[in-house]
């Protein structure tokens, strides 16, 4: 289910990454290294650049300066098509508001990620069903996003993120839009994934989530790394 990576090898390297939106500086020289199998939580106040950092690593946006190297690929130098292929092969992304396609069933939402790579529909659906089984939502496979609970939607989003066996799972406030019970379920899911070797970068406001799921905490303030801590696994 999870990409095989030898734990300890650096898979993400950020060196002096800057990002400016007009006159606003979102990231101001961030240097960071993330190793394979690590679960890193990024925390900080609103507007400190957490989501921007995640978007840079995911190749959803380009840095204004500095370098981002993921699995040996310099993300900033990739073309638009190169970025799309990079996201397809290397990245699984989970959003706060799920971002599912309303017109597609849960199963087709998940299968979509594989079909875009050219996988035949039948094969993609088979793989999606495996994930639904593993995530405990097999009975909801034919439901549409509008009728799913928040927790179910986020599980579908996780399944979609895992569909192409990504090297890196990025989660942006994954429990932010969920009630506490659904939030706990998603936390357990992320923890399980990391425990079987999935590298995870988590952006959150939620200290409890960070302590539950991450082994390292990176603190951001005004676009800079203001602190790094190793976290003890919580019960």
């Amino acid at each position: 289910m999870i990409a095989e990576e030898s734990r300890g090898e650096a898979v993400v390297r950020l060196d002096g990454v800057h990002k400016e939106y007009g006159e606003t500086t979102a990231l101001d020289g961030v240097t960071l290294e993330i190793r394979s199998g690590e679960a890193v939580a990024v925390m900080g106040p609103s507007g400190c650049g957490k989501s921007t950092l995640l978007n840079m690593i995911a190749g959803l946006d380009r840095p204004s300066g500095g370098t981002i190297v993921v699995h040996g690929e310099n993300v900033g130098e990739l073309s638009e098509k190169g970025l799309a292929l990079y996201r397809r092969r290397r990245i699984g992304m989970i959003f706060q508001f799920f971002n599912l396609v309303d017109d597609l069933s849960a199963l087709d939402n998940v299968a979509l990620a594989a079909q875009l790579t050219g996988s035949p529909a039948r094969q993609a659906r088979r793989r999606a069903l495996e994930l639904f089984d593993e995530l405990g939502i097999a009975d909801r496979r034919n439901a549409y996003p509008a009728v799913l609970s928040g927790g179910e939607r986020q599980r579908v989003a996780v399944a979609r993120a895992l569909m192409n066996r990504p090297a890196l799972l990025l989660a942006d406030e994954p429990t932010g839009a969920l009630d506490s019970r659904s939030g706990e379920q998603v936390m357990d899911l992320l923890l399980d994934l990391n425990q079987i070797g999935q590298t995870l970068i988590l952006v959150t406001h939620d200290a409890h989530l960070a302590r539950r799921c991450a082994s390292r905490l990176v603190e951001l303030g005004d676009g800079r790394v203001t602190g790094e801590h190793t976290l003890e696994p919580s019960a």
Partner: protein, 770 residues
């Protein structure tokens, strides 16, 4: 109100692209509508307009001066029912010998003595020179799109005066071929007195007859020798304009419907895509009425600007376009008298913004009802579970996922897709109809055009003096045949004869030589084989209620011949009948050919042949065959209208693609985040519209074909011709195959730019904003 205006202004500024699209669509649509309605108006009643401008006579009557005096006629003109009169004018019939220069007026001229070109009835358009005020001067009836080069030349009347041409005037009513000063007419030996009447009720032939009866009631018996109603004239003159009317009507109606559809689509789309904005306004404390006002104001700004600019553009384009359409040998009678009607501008300026507002009202009313919380959370119009079965089947298909997603997109917004489909469908209908029309017109124009390349006229004019050929008739034919490049030579003679039992004149054309059929397209029967056989034009047969197989007696002077009609050919001249030279000679022995039609060998240069013919005999006027202006006019104007309507349809698609990509920004961002490449985004967006385009082709092509079948026979009927089947059966499989991509082309043209824009979306920005 200030808050409403401020919010609307901010919305216009914020939605730059949407505002530009609305302005652009209303501009293009208004331009098309102004031109289409202008053409409809101009084509529907061109005769009436020109006739009213000249205050043409409802009845032109000729009286016998030996039976009725001018004073009696003046008194009769004051009877009830007569609105206005012109006359009495002395009228002479002048016969010019064929060899005399007649300035294109024919050999039998009606000359009227008239003091001035103005007056309460029959106001002449004196477009060159001046009016004839002294003896020895004449003004000729000639249309203003002719040349005035003949001014100052002399018209020689046999055993009468020499008249200098001092002016050209155009008289739509054809009350005379030429006018002289009242002091001159006596020298031309007038035989009639002309009176022209306008009646208070001229709505039908019966009313006109009643009016004329009232005028002649107190006059001596048989004082009235001839009369002609304007309705007969209208029927004759209007036939060429009537040929244009069905096709202009078709284009005009298509233009209006396409424009209305596009505007409705654009406006409702703009309102639906702005639901979050509506929620925010309501949350700020705007009343539902104020929200609707904001939306209507937001739509009105670009719509009014677009309409105003479109009206200006329509006016600027209409003038040269009308001149183009109303030119050529037939429709040219209305050249210069056709203009854009003020009601067209008024309708465009008021009607198009009204259509925009009406189209905006329904979705705006939806905004009126929607709760603030729901509007804010929805972001755009709430989407239900529409056509999910189709999406599911497409997801399981073997198609590339970008393509199957694109095909499914139109089902998410069926209303918008239906409006877009209707616009594309009408665009395809227009393209199909215009292609068929152009093919028919091209075949019509090209029929028989390879029959001859040069016409050599007998006689040449040099400084007003005619130079006759040095060779005789048969010697000329041999000479022309012997010149380099000549392959076939056919001589043509014309003589005016009378059909026994009818007052109408018949123009009998005698042909002799290698190709007697020349460029005539036979639609029924056969060509002549022997003397005494004729082939008649379809218009002649209809006018005279004759058929192939009938016989008729033709008279000229004291001679007569009974001829058999053996064939019908495609021609709209109501007087023309074709036979061989021997039949012409039997009726009019002195008549010799007036022209020789020469077919050249392949590759021979018509201009070189013309030079050789001129050098061989100085009394010849060779004239290489020119372009067919009527065909060119219809084909070119149909092409221009087609391009414009296809462009409007493509703009409709453009708008839908813009709205769809705007609505689906979040989905697009998400799809890109999971690895959809820019090319896949482009393919998906273009496919979504191309699917509608393909459906548009499927439905639009049969509609266009039906339009062609409906319009073309009416055009032919209007000019009394029968088109052979090869001109009307234009829909071969290859033609249909070529038309099949039309809808897809329109859709791709409209969708490509929004698709590229969508492909370039920055994912992080989209997801953050959404």
């Amino acid at each position: 109100m200030r808050a409403v205006w401020r919010a609307a202004r901010a919305a216009v500024r914020r939605r730059g692209l949407q505002t530009v699209v609305i302005a652009l669509v209303t501009l293009t649509s208004t331009t098309a509508i102004v031109m289409a309605l202008g053409l409809l108006d101009a084509a529907s009643a061109p005769f009436d307009k020109a006739f009213a401008r000249q205050r043409g006579p409802h009845v032109t009557a000729a009286f016998d001066p030996d039976r009725v005096s001018d004073a009696q006629l003046a008194r009769a003109a004051r009877r009830p029912g007569v609105e206005a009169t012109a006359g009495p004018f002395a009228q002479a019939a002048v016969e010019l010998p064929r060899e005399t220069t007649n300035f294109g007026l024919g050999t039998d001229l009606t000359v009227v003595g008239r003091a001035d070109p103005a007056g309460p009835v029959d106001r002449l358009d004196l477009w060159a020179g001046r009016w004839a005020t002294r003896p020895g001067e004449v003004v000729l009836n000639r249309q203003s799109d002719w040349t005035a080069d003949d001014l100052g030349k002399t018209l020689r009347v046999p055993s009468g005066p020499e008249l200098t041409i001092v002016g050209f005037a155009f008289d739509l009513s054809r009350s005379a071929d030429a006018w002289v000063a009242p002091g001159q007419i006596a020298a031309l030996r007038p035989t009639a007195t002309q009176m022209m009447f306008r009646f208070t009720d001229a709505s039908s032939p019966d009313r006109l007859r009643t009016g004329l009866d009232a005028v002649t009631e107190g006059l001596p018996r048989d004082a009235l020798t001839a009369s002609r109603s304007y309705l007969t004239l209208k029927n004759q003159i209007g036939s060429s304009a009537k040929a244009y009317t069905p096709y202009l009507m078709a284009f005009g109606i298509l233009g209006v419907v396409v424009a209305v559809l596009i505007v409705a689509n654009v406006v409702s789309g703009a309102v639906i895509s702005g639901f979050r904005h509506i929620g925010i306004l309501k949350a700020l404390g705007f009343t539902p009425g104020q929200v609707v006002a904001v939306y209507l104001a937001m739509i009105s700004v670009p719509a009014v600007v677009g309409c105003a600019l479109g009206t200006v553009a329509g006016n600027l384009l209409a003038r040269p376009f009308f001149e183009f359409v109303f030119s050529g040998p037939d429709a040219g009678v209305f050249h210069g008298s056709v203009s854009l009607a003020p009601w067209v501008n008024a309708l465009a300026l008021l009607g198009m913004p009204a259509v925009c507002l009406l189209a905006a009202l329904a979705p705006a009313a939806r905004a009126h009802r929607l709760s603030a919380a729901r509007a804010i959370s929805a972001g755009s119009a709430p989407r239900g579970g529409r056509a999910r079965g189709i999406q599911r089947r497409l997801a399981g298909s073997r198609l590339p996922r970008a393509v199957s997603l694109g095909i499914g997109l139109p089902f998410a917004r069926p209303g918008r897709s239906a409006l877009t489909l209707a616009a594309v469908l009408l665009g395809v209908t227009t393209v199909t109809f215009a292609t068929g029309l152009a093919t028919t017109m091209t075949r019509f124009g090209e029929a028989g055009r390879d029959a001859f390349q040069v016409t050599v006229y007998v006689g040449r004019y040099d400084k007003g003096t005619e130079i006759r050929p040095t060779h005789g008739d048969l010697a000329l034919q041999s000479l022309l045949r012997s010149l380099p490049g000549a392959q076939e030579v056919t001589a043509r003679a014309d003589v005016e004869v009378r059909r026994a039992g009818s007052s109408e004149k018949v123009m009998l054309e005698g042909r002799r030589g290698d190709r007697p059929q020349l460029d005539s397209v036979l639609t029924k029967g056969r060509w002549t084989h022997r003397t005494g056989e004729v082939v008649a034009g379809s218009a002649f047969l209809r006018q005279n209620d004759l058929r192939v197989g009938d016989r008729m007696r033709l008279e000229k002077g004291g001679r007569h011949e009974t001829v058999a009609i053996v064939g019908e050919y495609m021609h709209n001249d109501r007087r023309l009948v074709v036979t061989d030279q021997a039949t012409v000679t039997a009726l009019a022995p002195p008549e010799k050919p007036i022209a020789y039609h020469v077919k050249l060998r392949d590759g021979a240069d018509p201009a070189a042949y013309a030079r050789a013919a001129r050098a061989a005999d100085p009394g010849l006027s060779p004239d290489p065959v020119g372009a067919n202006t009527v065909t060119q006019t219809i084909v070119a104007s149909a092409s221009a209208l087609t391009v414009m309507l296809a462009l409007v349809a493509a703009l409709g698609v453009f708008n839908t693609a813009v709205l769809n990509t705007r609505d689906r920004r979040r989905d697009l961002g998400m799809l890109k985040s999971i690895g959809m490449t820019p090319r896949q985004v482009t393919v998906m967006t273009v496919t979504s519209m191309a699917a509608l385009g393909a459906l548009g082709s499927l439905l639009g092509i049969p509609l266009g074909m039906a339009g062609h079948r409906l319009v073309v026979p009416r055009m032919a009927d209007a000019v009394d011709i029968t088109l052979p089947s090869f001109m009307t059966d234009v829909w071969q499989p290859s033609a249909l195959l070529a038309l099949a991509p039309a809808g897809v082309a329109i859709a791709v043209l409209g969708a490509y730019i929004p698709a590229r824009r969508a492909a370039r979306l920055t994912v992080a920005e989209v997801l953050r904003n959404e």
